[in-house]
Symmetry: D2
Subunit: 349 residues, 4 copies
């Protein structure tokens, strides 16, 4: 284990930061991370700021102290890989500064996602976009909005039929709002039918994920995506009700087979955090459910990394389905870790 890559997690005390810590607690490629956080959490032990009790973080990491995250200190750390869960306000500049200084940044933050020189990668969907950061030197690889990642996983098996447009209503979990996030008086027994900037992210990120690399930058696909995003009183797991219009009709059997047979590069490479089956198709009517399916993904290390698709209905060139993903694992930290595993295996870091 002595030759594992040296890593850091920026924004370690947040909900996504804690998930990074869980996934890096005992990783075969990556050493346990150094932790960086805000001034508020700086100097504290991770265990003192923990807000996701179910995250399975190693005892050693729980007792690590969080350093204050200024770019100079991080640069001086000389890390092989930096995972960023920085807050939106400071992520944009700090990530650019680190990349310019030669750091390899895998980020869950949103500010740099739509830059043409930053690939926006869901590993099973568009790992080929990682080619644009293979020139050596520093770079940023972004992983996408949590709902966009889930939607991209659900759409990818349909790409072979051509995807003309997508209509989606999301039912998003409370953990997606971070901590303290949604006040309990607003959440209990309620639906909030709006999440700031979320619908725009789905509209722009999905076409970029399904885009093509041209001259070293990403050109978005022309697919139209319209979303209505809601918050529901669910702890963890984003549910999305999707209607996709294909370029041409497909039979119900062909569509079901497309979901069932779907595998991608992470599965071929048997990467540590890759689920054996990335998209699980369930035929049971009441599924997927957050309670039952949010942690889908085998082997154990890939828990929460599989998307579950159910309620599949095909009518002409219209496909309807419900997709569920774990928003802070597959939809956040896990996506970035799997991106890093690909780049590492392909020699990029």
């Amino acid at each position: 284990m002595s030759d594992r890559l040296r890593t850091a997690v920026l924004g370690a005390s947040g909900v996504v930061g804690q998930r990074f810590c869980e996934l890096l607690s005992a990783h075969p490629f990556f050493a346990p991370p150094d932790l960086y956080g805000s001034e508020r959490s700086g100097g504290k032990r991770l265990s003192e700021v923990l807000t996701i009790p179910e995250a399975r973080i190693s005892g050693e990491l729980l007792e690590s102290r969080i350093a204050h995250a200024d770019a100079a200190a991080v640069r001086k750390g000389g890390y092989d890989i930096i995972f960023s869960a920085l807050p939106t306000k400071i992520a944009g500049d700090m990530e650019l500064e680190l990349a310019a200084a030669g750091c390899r940044v895998f980020t869950n933050a949103s500010p740099n996602r739509m830059r043409r020189d930053v690939p926006l990668v869901v590993p099973e969907v568009n790992h080929d976009h990682l080619s644009i950061v293979k020139g050596g030197g520093g770079f940023i690889v972004a992983n996408g909005n949590c709902s966009a990642i889930g939607l991209a996983m659900g759409l990818k098996p349909l790409q072979q039929f051509g995807i003309r447009s997508v209509e989606v209503t999301t039912l998003q979990a409370l953990s997606g709002a971070g901590y303290p996030g949604v006040p309990s008086l607003d959440a209990l027994s309620n639906v909030i039918p709006y999440i700031a900037e979320e619908e725009e992210k789905l509209r722009h990120e999905i076409p970029k994920m399904f885009g093509t690399v041209e001259s070293g930058t990403v050109k978005s696909a022309s697919m139209e995506v319209n979303a209505t995003c809601t918050r529901v009183p669910v702890r963890e797991g984003h549910t999305e009700s999707v209607t996709a219009v294909l370029d041409s009709s497909a039979s119900a059997d062909a569509v079901a087979a497309a979901f069932t047979n779907f595998r991608s590069l992470p599965q071929e490479l048997s990467l540590p955090t890759a689920p054996t089956v990335p998209v699980i198709l369930t035929q049971e009517n009441g599924r997927p459910q957050p309670l039952l399916d949010v942690n889908a993904g085998e082997p154990e290390r890939a828990r929460g990394m599989a998307a579950t698709v159910g309620r599949l209905r095909v009518a002409g060139n219209t496909v309807r389905f419900v997709v569920l993903t774990h928003n802070t694992i597959r939809g956040a930290a896990g996506g970035s870790v799997l991106n890093a595993e690909i780049v590492h295996r392909q020699g990029g870091v």
Copy 2:
């Protein structure tokens, strides 16, 4: 008050039955109902079987005893109006038997909804369909599925632009499953993405509601409706995320004005249970919310009778919005009471 019509509520002990009792507790047209229920609740006082504490039922009615609901006993009661919240299994036959015997039945049950001789009426949407029961004698007037009623309210103001097709994802409240309904272990922090037969009801009932009367029966409109129905941990209030494709483009202003200006016959007649504004358009991003808007509707007697529409977005001939309705008031008992008020005012009973 001595000349108020004599009424009965069938299925009085259920969730919808209790709402009928609330709405008829002190009604200007209708006398407090005699109560009929299952063998299990027969002989008990309404107060002993109460499951909706927030229903504002008069003390007198709470102390009424529930009789066992067999058709013969009900017929013998000689009621001017019968409100039915009978369970699906027995509603079909018993309502037909009562109508054949000359009773006027206003029902919330589903079995007879799609019969060509039964109008399926949301008062503000298609009160003109009531014409097919005006011949005198017994009849059945159905009010529609709870989600269909909410959707119809949201769509009605758009009818002037022509409605070609509708795509809807519902987030339905627990009370819609009745009592005991959904086990708490399934409901807490979860979404169940399926409700048996609900999507078919939306598919068939909406076109019937927007249909036309021809030769004394209803011909459904050709509008296509596709639904994905989910259950969320909300006590009361169905939220629906709707995408409607119009026959032709409309400006955002024209669509907003259509919602804002919408009034219908119940408003013109100032019926007791009619809300002054049947569809409330909110411009606030986080609205409508079940907690904040489920009881919309003025005056006091029309509490829970108004639909609230929000998140209105218009793009070409596509209109997206979220509509919220109180599923056991507007979406059930209240709809039937308002139907009965129209028929009464028009001399049909």
Copy 3:
């Protein structure tokens, strides 16, 4: 209505402030209040900062603007009565300053509760303590901690038997923590077995409420009170499981009769916000429940003002029971309004 007393609410935008607004929306003694709040809410309309949708505040009051609450501005208002729901940090000094300037302050804030010259009054429990502010001039009347008020209501009928000591475990509602209060990620499906400073308040306030007036100040009773305070995922309504040890044995019938027959000054004076029956004794095993009983209290204006006691068990000189009160009405704003009604009726303001 023109001779109603002029009032102000300080801290109007908070959870308790909104309840004051509800109770003063159309009060027979008190005119609708002028509203004062923090710098953050200053200048806004009440409707813009509303967080308790179920509070029934008049449309006029909802459209009032909130002024910034500095003591000088409030003093200049020349109000007959000032209701304070100020935050703990500033309540202490500002209330003392106002009282010194001749204002009559009825407060829900905690800082001045234990001052010997401030009566701590639950109207039905120790209205006689109001005598110490009857000298004219400014004063502060405090109403007590929300759990202490509920507990005092439950204990008062037992006072005739002598109360030696009390052991209580509270199950407190989320609204008691104000807004934003408890994060939903902490509240959902959880119990938090600690509420800062709450147990100390119960320990000190209950003996003061049951104390005696001597030489114009209050001397606490010698009763020992021990509490364990927990937060549960309930929107509104504090449940308290109480074990009281009496000075001597009492029969189960005598204790039940003490609860059933209990009435006090607010009932004798038929004050507007006084419930006809201040403590409702239920014999049903599963009661009181927040869902079913939190709004207990008749007539309509006294909704949420009655305590409900259930699970009564008597063994020798030990009495066990569960008491439920509406924590932001009876346990906060309503208590102060009822105190003001007594003082007004007795000529003190």
Copy 4:
């Protein structure tokens, strides 16, 4: 693994039955169980009747079929050990019949708990009571009510000071009511202050657990236990607020040390399901919480087997604390499995 004992689980499809399956999925002493259930679940695979998604049951066991549980069929199975999670109605007779036929039954059911020839054993509390079943032949060992087990764990470290009486208020999880259990309309945002027969169980079972073996039967201790049992909207984990009066005063330090140092036979024997630390004392004010502490217990196999005690306060001879236990693991299936491990290790089976 070929010499592991042959086992059966009766009542396999219930909430506790599923926990038995989890704990026996890969047990070093006990082979995976044959499954028996009601007529309704008979013939089905375990996976088809699963209601606790988070139970980590082996894939093989999930695909096992459940046989109909009649006593003759079970007897014919010739099992070394039978774990019973039978429903109350049939458990009493069937367990007695099996024991009479020579079977060793470890039960979670209540009917036989108070029989003088049935030891009621919480492993760390009164393992010595197991001596009364060591004569060979069939027997029943009961594990106790879920709240009683948690309370006994919390009290055991205090036994050295003598325990005179106990006052407890429980806040019990929904899973304790089984499935379907509490309707969501009753559970959401509510407290139900009564659980049928629960308080009597605590009153009788605790003294039996702390009793002594005399002439081959158990004589209950004279300790008085009074309980108020409530249901709260928590998925898993019973919280109990306890006041214990000791025979004599103890210092806060001595009491804390008693908790911290507490170990018992299961720890000495390093049994597979024994937590290294059976009672964890936390000094943090807001703990224990179901969300954070319900799964306490190391190593991995003992997850959910440790009790967590917090809010410890000592005043004279009165000790107050809050104890949390996993009600379907430590409070049910896990308790019986650990009992069986002791008996097996001591040669009793």
